[in-house]
């Protein structure tokens, strides 16, 4: 039987170890935790290379009247987290804007490089991209909602964890670091199973809830990459909404930098 002092010191050691563990756990600040959760989500998509997808955009006004657009988006992954992805959006309806295209080279903090192709005049126009918060083609998606979600475009803060549907989600606030954002913050729900964003709330510059985005019907491609097949954005202040309904993604198209350069715009139709 060990003497009492030893027992006491053992108890003390265990106690200290527990304290230390608790302290370590607490050392990750909510900001660091938030970044880690967002980074894990972002990295779950790493290595996708390129893809192409057709989608339908359904715009609804407060009275429920609908207008639709159809478009194709091609995306090229730029693996460097300090540089954004490249994307090319081509519309085919409404018919009068058939062939209109938007080429974007996303940046992290600086405004993106963007070119617009107007088929009626066969004209390529470099456009100002400080217009982050403006509506994208009359929809409830702003330009900044539509371009690639780059990890380092935001600062993060972990808020809480809570059930979301059948899963558990980490709720993380993110704060745009780039200029001209229309948002003071966004609240995002990221599931703990496959680390995908399930819902985002957007708060306007006054701090009021402006919009909610629901990402639904996630499907797994290439055994690795999750894509939501439906994005539903509701504007709480105007009662308008926009749904993006995706067809199947095609990965491994074989696209390269030269498919996302200004010069290709003149051969789009």
């Amino acid at each position: 039987m060990p003497p009492k002092p030893l027992k006491a010191s053992l108890a003390l050691a265990v106690g200290l170890a527990l304290l230390a563990a608790a302290a370590t756990a607490q050392a990750a600040s909510p900001e660091e935790q938030g970044f880690e959760i967002a980074a894990r989500s972002d990295r779950s998509d790493r290595g996708f290379g390129d893809n192409r997808v057709r989608l339908k955009m359904v715009l609804r006004n407060a009275a429920g009247a609908e207008a639709t657009r159809s478009l194709e988006i091609a995306t090229l992954e730029v693996p460097d987290e300090d540089v954004g992805d490249k994307s090319l959006i081509v519309f085919d309806s409404p018919r009068d804007i058939d062939g209109t295209a938007l080429l974007s080279h996303a940046k992290i903090i600086d405004p993106d490089d963007q070119w617009l192709y107007l088929p009626a005049l066969k004209r390529v126009k470099r456009i100002s991209s400080v217009n982050k918060s403006g509506p994208f083609v009359g929809s409830e998606f702003a330009f900044e909602d539509f371009t690639a979600l780059e990890l380092k475009k935001y600062d993060y803060k972990y808020i809480r964890s809570e059930p979301c549907g059948e899963m558990t989600c980490d709720v993380v606030e993110r704060y745009p670091r780039y200029e001209y954002s229309g948002y003071v913050k966004q609240l995002s729900w990221i599931d703990q199973e496959v680390f995908q964003v399930r819902k985002v709330e957007f708060y306007d510059r006054r701090g009021d809830l402006l919009k909610t985005l629901s990402l639904e019907d996630y499907r797994l491609y290439e055994d690795k990459y999750w894509r939501a097949q439906k994005l539903a954005m509701v504007n709480h202040q105007t009662g308008k909404s926009t749904d993006l309904i995706y067809e199947d993604y095609v990965f491994g198209v074989g696209l390269g930098d030269r498919d996302f350069i200004k010069g290709v715009l003149q051969r789009i139709r």
Binding site: P94, D98, R123, G138, R267
Partner: protein, 415 residues
């Protein structure tokens, strides 16, 4: 009112070419692609309303007003092979005008096969090519002839037959154009408004080049972007698109004279947040003394102006053209300033409007224009255009338009 002179002989070539390309298109093996050819385009009806009595004899006029209705068709048949390496396009154009027989015309705007092979691409056939960045004048465009009977804004192009070889490299894009088959500029007929005092006889064209229309024109262009700068530069040699108009012996008609020219051109835009700084410049040799011309300006956009979804842009441009008008075709843009404002509502109907004025610095001649458009439903588009000429000096080339203020309303159906 009758739609007379449906397809003048000059247009039959275009129709024949259209048929050839259609045959080519249908000959594409169906195994090459699963999607099949796509038919799109628009048909429209348009009314131009002239407010004043015509200035010249022969120009149409109504007891009430100068009403000029016309019908338009711009179908487009396109086909991409499944691997998207082969593109076929066929885009004829047809206008039937009730008042001016010369404005009733057909053209093959596009009819080509393009092959995209990695860094290289080649285009064979008829195409339209737009360069440039400014709004008040499209100075650097040199590939296509202007379909001037359509409008005076120099934005309507006749299809140009060409071989276009291009390469896209990390350091930029290089385009080589070899263009057989010169296209002559269209002009309003004797009945038409917006024409010179003496009607132009398109069939009386004369050429500086011994090869005349057979002169193969060539152009080499480099374009790329460097950070916030977008740059294009080219060299052109061949029949200039802009004719001198020389009175015939009896002085009853103007005859187009096409000169062999060398032209260098530059277009540059610097994009600095909401500011766009723009420059277009050319140097031309072959019409009297070599001369230069410039359009330089700036556009600033207030995004989400007045706390709405609308964007409001302000534009200002300076225009200079150093040509000697005794040897070169006269221009209204010798020394002018342009001010404009652009409104985009960013609504579901994509409503936009542009209001602008070009003022001659020397003689005060002023041209004001307003353009607006809006989609109706899913498939229709309504366009309004108003143009007015104020304080036009007798010595200004625009003086023959001084009674031709007009409003245009166009309703188009897209399919």
């Amino acid at each position: 009112m009758t739609f007379h002179r449906l397809l003048p002989s000059a247009e039959r070539r275009a129709a024949a070419l259209a048929l050839t390309v259609a045959a080519l298109l249908s000959a594409v093996p169906s195994a090459a692609g699963a999607q099949g050819p796509k038919l799109s385009g628009s048909i429209g009806s348009e009314v131009r309303l002239f407010f004043e009595e015509p200035k010249f004899d022969g120009q149409f006029d109504d007891p009430i007003a100068g009403i000029q209705p016309s019908l338009l068709a711009e179908p487009e048949l396109s086909y991409d092979s499944q691997d998207r390496r082969h593109q076929f396009n066929l885009a004829p154009f047809l206008r039937l005008d009730a008042r001016d027989g010369d404005r009733s015309h057909a053209d093959l705007r596009e009819g080509y096969w393009r092959y995209i092979g990695g860094d290289w691409e080649v285009l064979l056939g008829v195409n339209r090519v737009f360069w440039g960045v400014t709004e008040s004048r499209h100075l650097v465009n040199v590939i296509n002839q202007i379909d001037a009977v359509e409008d005076i804004d120099e934005e309507d192009f006749l299809g140009q037959p060409m071989v276009n070889l291009a390469t896209q490299q990390d350091w930029g894009r290089v385009d080589l154009f070899v263009m057989p088959g010169f296209r002559e500029r269209t002009f309003p007929g004797r009945n038409g408004r917006l024409r010179p005092g003496i009607p132009v006889d398109e069939n009386a064209a004369q050429y500086d080049s011994e090869l005349a229309r057979g002169q193969p024109d060539t152009a080499l262009r480099y374009s790329h972007f460097f950070g916030d700068f977008d740059l294009g530069a080219y060299y052109f040699y061949g029949n200039g698109r802009e004719p001198r108009l020389v009175p015939s012996g009896q002085g009853t008609r103007l005859e187009p004279r096409y000169d062999l020219i060398h032209q260098g051109g530059l277009d540059l835009q610097y994009t600095d947040e909401a500011w766009l700084w723009k420059l277009e410049a050319i140097v031309r040799e072959g019409q009297g003394d070599p001369f230069g011309a410039v359009v330089a300006g700036v556009e600033y956009t207030f995004f989400q102006a007045f706390e709405s979804d609308a964007d409001l842009g302000l534009l200002a441009e300076f225009l200079y053209d150093g040509r000697d008008e005794d040897d070169a075709p006269p221009t209204a843009f010798d020394e002018d300033v342009f001010f404009g404002t652009r409104l985009a509502l960013n609504d579901v109907q994509d409503s936009t409007a542009l209001l602008g004025a070009i003022v001659d610095v020397e003689d005060g001649s002023t041209s004001i224009f307003f353009e607006a458009e809006r989609r109706l439903g899913d498939s229709w588009k309504l366009e309004l255009e108003v143009r007015a000429f104020l304080n036009i000096s007798d010595s200004n080339p625009a003086s023959s338009f001084e009674n031709d203020d007009f409003a245009l309303l166009r309703l188009s159906y897209f399919f």
